[in-house]
């Protein structure tokens, strides 16, 4: 009886899950409904996971004697993995979000690879197509797993500098080729019945070893600035791997969810690469971070420093201020202080807007999240295309912890490595203040022409300390007026 009904229940739950995932993602397309979107998707996940325990009524004959042990293992794995990741995910700081997304994504890739491994070691695949798809999913999942772990290590600061050796691209290509050859041998041995001197299980181990090594080798040389694109690619990879393993397991929910994420991840990757003025191939195969001997060019003038309190008072009496925050703001944990300062400006009837560059932060949109965490309402936050024309009519642009994304060389200097990158036109404001730790270059090591422009003044110091001074200066004015 149960063996007849349970596939129906599983099928219905998976169908519901697939629908709820897409509906949830759709709701995430607006800040007003986004929070409910993830909950909708969460309900789908719980339904699918609970229903999958009904698989026990239709297990393989060979697995029946192990069923109780397997159920115990399943509950244990769900509890350990779920509770552990939940606990960490609830506690981690918002600035650490990119590496958390990377590691959770790697887990998904690893799970897809593991499923493929069970299918391969158990010789459960039927026919050449299924075997080939299993291997392809295994390869993509394993690369996503080991690559994401490296990406996590880089973003978390465990691995510092990108590791580059001569002939690395050659080594990567050789490793990829080796993986494909071993995969071909597995197909030949299993389907073609060709007798090989090496046993198939050994080949499977070698296959996974090569795939994992390839993921590591491919990610190691990529610089920290490019990690967002890399995480996004691996997100798409994991989706693809899950979709392919869904085909092998004949589970349409996995196929649909995996492929939706695969396509979405690809689109996000392309958007990000475009925002950084790089092609995806460029990110993966030529290693940025060694800037093309950025010659200073013909920049005239000097950087002129200004007092934090003078800048603050100028903004207090301005009509309009646009703030351009960058990762330096988050690194100094100064978002709250910034919003405190902004509230003072708003109270003084100054129009304040935040201008966010698509790649501000370590991950596209991370700056939006960090500002939201500080309490900034999302209708004060504007994206590049929506605000760039406003700079010309704005009194003051305040640049905090951002550098390359406001470098006008991207518009004008053809020899600059960032030429053509979309930038925020902060230099067009009547007055520009740049808050910066000290004289020096940005993440990419490129000189910023904005700092030398006649309408720009530099406020040197730690973002947090500078903002405290600014707040005090504006409060002091209010106190003086009241006295």
């Amino acid at each position: 009886m149960f063996s007849v009904v349970s596939p129906l229940v599983i099928g219905a739950a998976d169908l519901a899950a697939a629908f709820l995932f897409m509906f949830g993602l759709k709701r995430m397309s607006s800040p007003a409904t986004a929070a409910s979107g993830i909950r909708v998707a969460g309900i789908g996940m719980i339904a699918a996971v609970l229903a999958s325990f009904l698989y026990i009524f239709n297990v393989d004959a060979a697995a029946r004697p192990h069923l109780m042990v397997n159920i115990g293992l399943a509950v244990l794995a769900l509890g350990l993995g779920g509770a552990g990741a939940w606990f960490v995910g609830r506690k981690v700081a918002m600035t650490a979000m990119p590496q958390m997304v990377a590691i959770y994504n790697g887990m998904g890739g690893g799970a897809a690879g593991s499923i493929a491994a069970v299918e391969l070691f158990g010789s459960r695949t039927h026919g050449a197509t299924q075997l080939a798809v299993t291997l392809l999913g295994a390869l993509i999942g394993a690369v996503s797993f080991s690559g994401s772990v490296i990406a996590w290590a880089k973003l978390d600061g465990v691995l510092k500098a990108p590791l580059r050796v001569k002939g690395q691209q050659f080594a990567n290509a050789a490793m990829m080729l080796a993986t494909l050859i071993v995969g071909g041998l597995i197909v030949a041995a299993t389907i073609g019945g060709i007798a090989l001197p090496i046993a198939t299980p050994v080949l499977i181990w070698v296959f996974f070893g090569c795939a994992l090594a390839f993921g590591v080798l491919m990610t190691l040389p990529i610089g920290g600035a490019d990690m967002p694109v890399v995480i996004s690619i691996y997100n798409a990879f994991t989706g693809l791997a899950v979709g392919l393993e869904g085909f092998v397991l004949q589970n349409p929910a996995l196929m649909i969810a995996g492929m939706v994420v695969g396509a979405a991840g690809l689109l996000l990757t392309l958007l990000m690469a475009k925002a950084m003025n790089r092609s995806v191939a460029n990110v993966l195969f030529t290693n940025f971070g060694t800037p093309a001997k950025a010659k200073p060019g013909a920049i005239k003038g000097t950087e002129r420093p200004v007092d934090a309190s003078d800048a603050a008072i100028k903004m207090r009496y301005a009509t309009s201020v646009i703030i351009v925050p960058g990762y330096g703001l988050a690194a100094a944990h100064a978002q709250q202080k910034l919003y405190e300062f902004v509230k003072l400006l708003l109270a003084a009837k100054v129009t304040v807007k935040f201008a966010i560059h698509p790649v501000a932060g370590r991950m596209p949109g991370q700056m939006d999240v960090l500002l939201a965490e500080a309490g900034v309402p999302y209708d004060m936050i504007f994206q590049l295309d929506d605000i760039n024309d406003d700079f010309a009519t704005t009194d003051v642009a305040l640049v905090i912890g951002a550098n390359d994304v406001v470098n006008p060389a991207a518009r004008t200097d053809k020899s600059s490595p960032i030429f053509g990158m979309p930038i925020l036109n902060a230099d067009k404001a009547h007055q520009v203040y740049v808050v910066k730790r000290g004289q020096g270059k940005g993440y990419s090591g490129i000189v910023n022409a904005l700092f030398y422009s006649p309408n720009c003044e530099m406020v040197y110091g730690d973002a947090q300390a500078v903002l405290v001074q600014m707040i005090e200066a504006v409060r002091g004015l209010g106190a003086a007026a009241a006295a």
Partner: protein, 116 residues
């Protein structure tokens, strides 16, 4: 009418094609402000792989399969639970000026209305 699932050949390709198209279209409308939560949200969605892991583990018949299946469920559960936790936290922070942020924002809101 049969409820057996038989995803082979072109049927599978159609499912893949339509799902990929749906993913592309759904994400295409998401504003840049939500890109990080969205990446995290889609990351959560592929946590459905845990279901595949459960299938593999429950059907495992050797110690090797049990071990790898255990890893599959462990990692898949981590993907799903962790992805949900961080996405939910991020999205809960997005507030509009109208969400009881207090009267101090009223001036700002009026200016925005006038402009648009």
């Amino acid at each position: 009418m049969t409820f057996a699932i038989d995803m082979t050949g072109f049927v599978a390709l159609y499912v893949f094609m339509l799902a990929a198209f749906a993913g592309w279209v759904i994400i295409g409308n998401v504003p840049a402000i939500l890109h990080t939560p969205l990446m995290s949200g889609s990351n959560f969605v592929h946590g459905i792989v845990v279901v595949g892991g459960l299938f593999a583990l429950l059907n495992a018949s050797t110690h090797l399969e049990q071990g790898i299946g255990f890893v599959a469920v462990l990692l898949g559960a981590g993907n799903a639970a962790g992805g949900y936790a961080v996405t939910d936290r991020m999205l809960a922070m997005f507030k509009s000026s109208n969400d009881g942020a207090g009267p101090k924002h009223r001036a700002h809101r009026h200016r925005r209305h006038k402009k648009s």
